[in-house]
């Protein structure tokens, strides 16, 4: 139990024993959940954490006695406050859902009905289940909006879902869950789709309201640092099985299982920064825009030293990926120039020579879409070898095997299709494809953000090792500060198409910060259950409420 929990923890509210859930895919049934137990007390918040495919969401829905299309609950018992949900009729379950158990989904914008006003959707369950009359429920909803610090709490409910932002919508959904005053709320990755600075606000609002009303909650996420701020106890799930159950503080300080530790393994990589004056690429006062009207890059200057890593950080829409498009020539700058090895590069892709193209390679965020699903590994890595180096036949295959070895894969992979590779292996093949061209500079666009933590660590270590061996230069585009700490020498912070700050890692990640960098850095959840509380206190001190 976390020390700062204000509510009262009482008797057992939900008891799930030996839950088995099957899912249908590839023409057969698989076990998604293989006998998991969940015991939740009144007023307690349980964090359920695990990587993609661990079965977290399926388990969360099962707590409501609900199975998504294509899934069925095949075994175990679910007792909610003395009611056996496995035996309850659909009617009885309907009565519980939305009155005593509520649900907050990941994608708020898709989960609101576009045809109804927010307030009508907020009070729907409370009114339907006869918990409050309509006008009382509306008044209460406005109060909840205020509690959740939504702007214009008295009128925001009159709007339609498409008229408010994602972060606000997520808070309205929390109000919707809270409206019937349920005993239990299931939060299913509620902040995953949000930017990091928005996430903090939503997180704080959700925690506050859940604690004020002493509601029990199951908080599902893949981010341990986020769940640490919310939960009293944490359950680690993997491949549909429980890995570890523990109190939040104990889990963070002293996890029993190595797997649990690997969940924050990226944070364990340490790289000493190095200073260098040998500039391989210089983005020189570049402006760029898509339609000619709004500037997506505004006077951007970035210097990239040879053999080192420059991390470009920022939230969605900051222009960090656009900068990569300008460097590669996909989006020719409207002003300024890009110098490569001291020579100006032609702005547009089609005007660049094969050698110029060869020396700058790119690795993408989604390895899935970066490889043609119909090409084998041999085609994928072999093509740049043929295209740039003119290698054919045996020579090419020889080099191919060397490259596979470099990325720690063996020759059994050579004839596989992308669909036959795991997420991490796919990203390694993409790295090999970039290496095959013998580049000077590799642009890595969020290359680890779609991967599970343990796989991320492997990829980052590989990139670091390759840099050491071959003196590669990286531009590393990311929104994840932990990754930045792990890999960079220099950092560029971007906001709304402009470079806000730029310098060595040690300078940027230490005070004094400019305002935005500070906001960005301080919003990244830390592995400390007191982090959010501390942050809110500090922010309240600096900006006294008006």
């Amino acid at each position: 139990m976390s020390v700062d929990h204000k509510g009262q923890i009482g008797d057992v509210l939900l008891e799930m024993r030996g839950i088995v859930i099957d899912g249908y895919s590839d023409d057969r049934w698989h076990e998604i959940i293989k006998g998991v137990d969940v015991v939740l007390k009144r007023g307690e918040i349980m964090g359920v954490i695990g990587e993609s495919g661990a079965g977290k969401s399926t388990l969360g829905l099962a707590a409501m006695g609900f199975a998504q299309p294509g899934c069925k609950i095949n075994g175990g018992s679910i007792i909610f406050d003395g009611i056996d949900l496995m035996k309850a009729s659909e009617d009885e379950k309907c009565k519980l859902r939305g009155s005593r158990i509520a649900y907050v989904a990941q994608s708020a914008s898709a989960s609101f009905n576009p045809a109804h006003r927010l307030i009508d959707q907020t009070i729907e369950s409370a009114v339907r289940h006869g918990i409050m009359p309509e006008n009382e429920a509306k008044a209460d909803a406005r109060k909840l909006y205020r509690d959740l610090q939504l702007p214009d709490p008295d009128s925001i409910g009159e709007r339609y879902p498409h008229q408010v932002s994602g972060g606000q919508l997520q808070r309205v959904m929390t109000a919707m869950a809270m409206s019937p005053r349920p005993d239990l709320i299931i939060f299913d990755e509620p902040t995953t789709a949000l930017d990091v600075t928005t996430q903090v606000e939503v997180l704080a609002a959700m925690r506050e309201i859940v604690e004020n009303y002493n509601t029990a909650a199951i908080y599902i996420t893949h981010d341990l640092a986020v769940v640490a701020q919310m939960a009293d106890v944490i359950k680690v799930l993997r491949y549909g099985e429980t890995v570890e159950d523990a109190d939040t503080r104990k889990m963070l300080t002293n996890p029993e299982k190595e797997y649990t530790q690997s969940l924050w393994s990226v944070r364990s990589i340490v790289k000493e920064e190095e200073v260098s004056q040998d500039i391989v690429l210089k983005v020189d006062r570049v402006d760029a825009s898509y339609t000619g009207s709004v500037k997506v890059l505004d006077d951007v200057t970035i210097e990239v030293p040879r053999g080192h890593t420059v991390a470009v950080v920022g939230e969605s829409g900051s222009g960090k990926s656009t900068a990569a498009r300008a460097i590669t020539g996909l989006l020719p700058p409207s002003k300024g120039q890009i110098l490569f090895n001291g020579e100006p590069l032609p702005p547009a892709l089609k005007d660049r020579s094969i050698e110029q193209l060869q020396k700058i390679q790119m690795i993408y965020q989604m390895a899935d879409t970066a490889m043609n699903p119909r090409h084998t590994v041999r085609d994928i890595i072999g093509r740049p070898l043929e295209f740039y180096l003119g290698l054919r036949g045996k020579e090419r295959d020889q080099r191919l095997l060397e490259l596979l070895n470099m990325i720690e894969l063996d020759d059994s992979f050579i004839d596989r299709l992308p669909a036959e590779l795991s997420g991490g292996q796919k990203q390694r093949i993409c790295i090999a494809r970039a290496l095959a061209a013998n580049p000077d500079l590799i642009i890595c666009d969020e290359v680890t953000s779609a991967l599970d933590q343990i796989v991320q660590k492997g990829i980052l270590q590989l990139l670091l090792r390759l840099q050491e061996e071959f003196g590669l230069t990286y531009i590393f585009i990311t929104h994840d500060i932990a990754t930045v700490k792990a890999i960079s020498d220099q950092i560029v912070v971007m906001l709304e198409g402009r470079v806000v700050e730029q310098g060595m890692k040690s300078e940027i990640l230490a005070p004094p910060y400019p305002d935005y960098t500070k906001l960005l850095l301080s919003s990244v959840p830390e592995m400390d259950p007191d982090w959010l509380t501390g942050l809110l206190k500090e922010r309240a001190k600096e900006q006294p409420p008006v």
Partner: protein
């Protein structure tokens, strides 16, 4: 890797999608075995039609346009399904019809795909004014029902087989254009196409190696559907007397020529069935193709059934 973390991490040990590699033949065999009865039925029917179309001259007891002295001969040993209004053997004309009617429909569909497919991919890659021009032209062509459009053109150019093929193919190419543009657009935005552009690959390579292999499955399914549509349109035109012209044996015209016999159903049921035979031949093939396409779509879209 059930306990990979405990044993230390290894990239090669990571488990990809569990998928056994099989040869092409094994894959086809496995696909056939898992096919529902409707699809198997469809494939059987299609093979029979193809067989009859290929070997029509060997299988037909009489010539395509051979005229015997007895018109409207009843069903019997000499003429299994009797003769038509001119004294031609109905069975032989049915068999030749497989070659003519199906052959013309296949040729038309192929031409429609050639035109619509190449325009669709070009529009998706070039975008800009090229895409706009073709797309708007297609919008206009699609604003009139294609049967009506076909009727206008036939009244101008006359109902010959080459005219029919070109007219229907051009009109149907609009649908093919829409779908091939849409599926290509989905592929064009993929990072691997961008990666190929960044590598410096030419347009031809990108079209052939990156895009085409990835749009084949939806286009194959569409081919089946378009074939049905073209086949029914040509049958309808022939039935209306403005399609394939005599003496070519064709199912649509055969229905029209013998339609009068249906009045005699109470006296001689076989006579009434004579015009129904070519109509049923058309229907059966379309049903068969639809069944196969339905299964193919279901398989390739990976649709999951609710429990």
């Amino acid at each position: 890797m059930s306990n990979g973390a405990e044993e230390g991490y290894s990239a090669a040990g990571e488990v990809g999608l569990l998928r056994t590699r099989r040869s092409l033949r094994a894959n086809i065999w496995r696909g056939l075995k898992s096919a529902p009865p409707t699809a198997l039925f469809g494939m059987t029917i299609i093979s029979i039609y193809v067989f009859f179309a290929l070997f029509a001259p060997l299988l037909a007891p009489h010539g395509e346009a051979e005229i015997f002295p007895i018109a409207y001969a009843p069903w019997g040993e000499e003429f299994l399904f009797g003769t038509d209004q001119l004294g031609r053997d109905v069975l032989s004309r049915l068999i030749y019809g497989a070659r003519n009617t199906v052959g013309i429909a296949v040729a038309t569909t192929l031409l429609a795909f050639l035109i619509g497919g190449s325009l669709g991919i070009t529009a998706a890659i070039s975008l800009g004014w090229v895409d706009n021009l073709i797309s708007r032209a297609v919008d206009v062509l699609m604003a009139i029902p294609s049967l009506i459009f076909a009727l206008i053109l036939i009244s101008i150019f006359g109902a010959t087989v080459p005219n029919l093929i070109i007219i229907i193919a051009v009109l149907d190419a609009t649908r093919v254009f829409r779908i091939s543009r849409a599926v290509s657009l989905n592929v064009v935005v993929m990072d691997y196409v961008e990666a190929a552009k960044l590598r410096g690959e030419g347009l031809g390579w990108i079209m052939r190696r990156e895009i085409l292999p990835n749009i084949m499955p939806p286009l194959i399914a569409e081919f089946g559907l378009r074939f049905c549509f073209v086949f029914l349109t040509i049958a309808a035109l022939s039935f209306l007397g403005v399609g394939i012209q005599p003496p070519t044996a064709d199912w649509g015209s055969m229905v029209r020529e013998n339609a009068g016999l249906i009045q005699f159903a109470e006296y001689d049921i076989t006579a009434a069935l004579t015009p129904m035979l070519p109509a049923a031949a058309i229907a059966l093939l379309t049903v068969a193709v639809n069944f196969v396409v339905d299964w193919f779509l279901h398989k390739s879209s990976g649709l999951r059934d609710e429990h």
